[in-house]
């Protein structure tokens, strides 16, 4: 994966727009196989989401997916990925958030994209990421009384529990 240097960044109009809007929000830009990933800080996520969805020249109105990667034992352990899609501009963008293992809380984006509701419940269920401001954060796939979060890398895959 290629880390894009700040001087190259201006080539991508979406990254340029984001930089112009708030230089602090963009922590890092990654390029891999023609896909752009913008790493944002946790405190800027909700603002950045609103900006990307509402800005008339960007219109990332469709949230395709939210998914987490557990980098255990590396810290910050979790990477939460948001796959955005602009339906009419036909462009995709990935937002990435790095979250520490001892405090896996992320602001909820349900106010910007209502579809995030079930996505966030799934990530809470399988990874134990807590989404602050989510209207109904419950398990969705596992039973309510289940212990642990199965997709975490330190979750045992064999034997009795």
């Amino acid at each position: 994966m290629h880390i894009v240097e700040p001087q190259e960044e201006t080539k991508n109009p979406v990254v340029r727009k984001l930089r112009e809007w708030d230089a602090q929000a963009v922590a890092e830009v990654l390029e891999f196989r023609g896909e752009t990933t913008v790493v944002v800080h946790r405190e800027h996520l909700r603002r950045a989401a609103e900006y990307l969805a509402a800005e008339p020249s960007l219109r990332f109105s469709f949230l395709s997916d939210i998914t987490t990667v557990d980098r255990y034992p590396i810290e910050p352990r979790f990477e939460v990925n948001y796959h955005l899609l602009s339906l009419d501009r036909r462009e995709r963008l990935r937002l990435k958030l790095r979250v520490a293992g001892n405090d896996p809380t992320v602001p909820s984006v349900t106010s910007t994209w209502p579809t995030a509701n079930w996505h966030e419940r799934e990530n809470f269920d399988l990874f134990g990421i807590r989404f602050e401001g989510h209207p109904d954060l419950r398990r969705i796939l596992m039973p309510d009384d289940w212990e642990g979060h199965p997709l975490r890398k330190d979750y045992p895959v064999e034997g009795y529990r």
């Binding site: 891999f32 196989r33 469709f62 998914t67 994209w113 209502p114």
Partner: protein, 385 residues
């Protein structure tokens, strides 16, 4: 009154439970409860090599296994930076479009059964069986085909396979007209579907609905057009849309999609060259041909290494979206540079589309809930994964 519908209710198409809060016959609140079919496919993928995980993708959306194969293979190919040869791409297009027809046939049939029209089901399953026979002829399996592999196809298709497909597409248009005769003007069908389960374009986008659900609400978005993969840009087809946003509009969109798929299959039949490689040449990643394995020492070494330890793509993450019969099937693969995927995530269209169910049926009669569940065309295997 609170009514528990499912998880063993026949019209929930699997094991979906819906908790309905009723005011007389009116649904005040509907809450889908899922997870009864959760088998941990994503977790299992992490323990398998890239090629082994293909067999799991069949079992996600078991009505469109080839679409899942395609989404996953394309994602891994993107990760590796390789591409399947043109011949394989055209065969992939032909087979996924047949999958779309077969999946929509099951949908029309079961949806009609749910709403009381028994006979349509018997007819659509007759045609579906024809498609299953084609799949069996080509891949050796009716449903769990695993026919698409990273870099191409599993094996050279048998002689005469194109004739089988040709025979099917020659008979099918007339059959499709028959279903339309049974349903499109049918007063009971219209009464049960027209104006039922309304979803506006704004709501559809906000709720992340994709596929026929989105297109029946007037948004002409299709991944095959917007982000062409597997040479879809070389095919001439249109994206059917409707603006009514109700169950009937979704029925119309799906029937129109079957006709468009037929168009694509017909073009593919002309495009597919009689001979040519069916998988990419990439030493160390794609197994060499049988001939090469038997005659050269490098071939034998690669064959042994690929089938024992697999291949290791560079570290990185990709997201590949395709248009499955149900909507946007996204496959996110994260690699850490080893021979097993570090994380695989399937953005299952059924899972997201099901989220619109409360929007569709709240404030409507309890009988409409069945129509609304049917019209979202969910496959519970895909919802729960």
């Amino acid at each position: 009154m609170v009514l528990n519908m499912g998880p063993q209710h026949p019209s929930t198409h699997g094991v979906l439970r819906v908790i309905l809060e009723l005011e007389g016959e009116i649904v005040v609140k509907a809450e889908p409860v899922i997870g009864y079919l959760h088998t941990g496919i994503e977790k299992t993928c992490e323990r398998l090599t890239y090629s082994q995980a293909i067999t799991l993708t069949d079992r996600i959306d078991y009505l469109a296994p080839l679409s899942n194969n395609l989404g996953y293979c394309l994602a891994v190919e993107k990760l590796l930076g390789i591409e399947a040869p043109k011949r394989a791409q055209y065969i992939r297009v032909m087979l996924t479009e047949l999958t779309r027809i077969s999946s929509h046939l099951v949908w029309v049939g079961t949806h009609a059964i749910d709403l009381g029209a028994m006979s349509v089901f018997l007819y659509t399953f007759r045609e579906r069986e024809e498609i299953q026979k084609i799949f069996e002829f080509i891949s050796g399996q009716r449903m769990m085909t695993s026919y698409f592999r990273v870099g191409g196809l599993a094996l050279e298709p048998p002689p005469g396979y194109l004739d089988q497909v040709r025979r099917f597409i020659d008979t099918f248009p007339a059959r499709l007209d028959e279903y339309e005769d049974l349903l499109t003007q049918n007063r009971i069908w219209l009464g049960r579907t027209k104006g039922v389960g309304f979803l506006s374009a704004t709501d559809a986008i906000a709720m992340g609905a994709s596929g026929p659900l989105l297109r029946a609400s007037g948004v002409a978005f299709d991944n095959r057009k917007a982000f062409p993969y597997s040479s879809y840009d070389e095919f001439d087809f249109s994206v059917p849309t409707q603006t009514a946003g109700d169950c009937f509009a979704r029925y119309q969109v799906r029937v129109a999609e079957m006709r468009e798929s037929l168009k694509i299959v017909r073009q593919a039949l002309e495009k597919i060259p009689a001979e040519g490689p069916f998988k990419a040449t990439a030493p160390g990643i794609i197994a060499p041909s049988r001939e090469e394995m038997k005659t050269s020492i490098e071939g034998l070494i690669y064959h042994f290494k690929i089938y024992t330890e697999g291949f290791a793509p560079p570290a990185g993450e990709v997201y590949q979206a395709i248009e499955s019969p149900r909507g946007e099937l996204g496959v996110f693969v994260a690699s850490d540079g080893s021979n097993r995927p570090y994380r695989v995530k399937f953005r299952a269209p059924s899972f997201i589309n099901l989220q619109t169910l409360p929007k569709l049926c709240e404030g409507r009669l309890i009988a409409d809930v069945v129509a609304c569940i049917g019209t979202t065309d969910i496959v519970l295997g895909e919802v729960d994964r």
